[in-house]
Symmetry: C2
Subunit: 359 residues, 2 copies
Amino acid sequence: MWPNERLLDLLQIEVPIIQAPMAGANGSALAISVSEAGGLGSLPCAMLNEDKMRAEAGNIRQQTANPFSMNFFCHTAVAPTPEQQAAWTAQLTPFYTEYGLDPSDIAPASIRRAFDEGMCELVEDIKPNVVSFHFGLPDAPLLARVKAVGTRVISSATTVNEARWLEANGCDAIIAQGYEAGGHRGMFLTKDITAQAGTMALLPQVVDAVKVPVIAAGGIADGRGIAAAFALGASGVQIGTAYLFTPQSLISDLHRAALHQATDDQTVITNVFSGKPARGLINRIIREVGPMSEDVPPFPTAGAALAPLKAKAEEAGSGDFTSLWSGQAASLARDMDASELTRTLASDALQRLQQLAGK
Amino acid sequence: MWPNERLLDLLQIEVPIIQAPMAGANGSALAISVSEAGGLGSLPCAMLNEDKMRAEAGNIRQQTANPFSMNFFCHTAVAPTPEQQAAWTAQLTPFYTEYGLDPSDIAPASIRRAFDEGMCELVEDIKPNVVSFHFGLPDAPLLARVKAVGTRVISSATTVNEARWLEANGCDAIIAQGYEAGGHRGMFLTKDITAQAGTMALLPQVVDAVKVPVIAAGGIADGRGIAAAFALGASGVQIGTAYLFTPQSLISDLHRAALHQATDDQTVITNVFSGKPARGLINRIIREVGPMSEDVPPFPTAGAALAPLKAKAEEAGSGDFTSLWSGQAASLARDMDASELTRTLASDALQRLQQLAGK
């Protein structure tokens, strides 16, 4: 039925669509809905504490018998130098002053945790069908323990070089994350966003470079994009932005309204929200400080200083300081329940594939 | 046979592949070879004088009865201010000194001419089947004269907004130029390269926005990419970089060697070679001055000052100052005669389309 069933076989799913884990924007409800429709639902864990991870994974296990994924970051946390923190404070002080906030409150803090011993124990306990990592892979001993419980491991590559590295280090499948993708770029062997390739170029080059199944991500939001990904050699797709439009996503009304207005040319890759490059809708903080600022402290501590500004602006109905994550194809998305969206995407893609052969 | 024959019908060609016009890198030989294979060969005219245009178009007419295209730029030439020229001179002086050249020789000059009365008369005389424009369209009176001789007019859009504008202003088909594409970006209503969309995202949004046939460009270098473009709704593709590998392209051995080594992550969009953003392989001048410099004079005069550096470096076997134009998918290209390449791309794409339907 699908031109290539390698990912379906590997992950034991019925529909070759992975719901992208979106930290802060989805919990168990979205994952359950997608897994119930035969896709792979994903629980993003980077912004959860262990109690919450356990509770959310428990929800998923309870409400679907189908496979699901847990997603973890595996960055190396870097503390800002006093100079970096001072530069960031200087950048943000005018905004703090404008909102009647005290700039002396600006301090580094992280709301994003890297995969560690505690999370590894939790994975060994829960045994999710799939674990996906972002920003590379954890250290070999931790990765070996994840794999030892029978969990399939996937991670994102933004270059052919990263894809080869992930395969050599044990990934069972690789997400080729094209330039179009929303949210954080998975880059871990390069920092140069100017040389990142679009999905159309990246995907077939990754397919040619590795033996494991390749999952396409970036710019895919309807059946046409899924069909195109298979044409380029993918065994499946990972879709994020389109799922933000579902009632199961946790985004604010403000973020939802911005996505509904989005056109093809309204997102950029910016580091202002976290210290690492991520794609979102252009807003005031990006325009005035970014999109890429050299004064942003290293990931993951930059974002904390934006939280009070975000809260004040959102109270006034403004997304000026909110990370409005989005890929470049938001305008293709539809308001739809996540299960229904998953089934519709799959049937649209299959229909498109038949049409292409003149059937 | 093809899932969508709108472009074939419009341009009266047999294969839905347009050879991208590449000023400085192709002349009549490549266009003839592609048109003879049933695709649309293109003669880039922006860097030719009228005698040469006429001679080259004559060659094509003489050697193939099939349709071909002539391509023109339609930028508004802007002279640099003295301040801009001084800043550029300051940027380049260390390189001039290094090569024993005299920086006082740095002066604005253009080797790229915009479509004008003289070229329009030539088009009226030659009546090419297709004229393609880059950087928008010429003024309405000139455009009307081109259309009056029965020539089909196409141009590039890098955003949905540009696509709508081109359709409203009389384009018969629109090239959706994704971020992956090599050479100059056709941008004419926006200057913001950070918000340019990849082909996977841009193409279906353009297809949804206009009624005329859409041609996909950017990151397409093999049958998989062509099949993917049709999956996304394109009626054809425009391919550049892959044709640089043919014996009919005019690029230097140095450029050819660099393309053979190219990987997915070795190109960037840079303005250092002309003043307008264009994608090429990263080299010394891009690394040390670019990729995007605010000290570059406006298009089209910036490049003249690089010519002596380029000549000196190339004498020593170095491409440090050469515009090594390339899209992001050079590694997918093969060494092949241009006619054979055109036929192979078409048959690979058709075979891929059949495979996708499980046939």
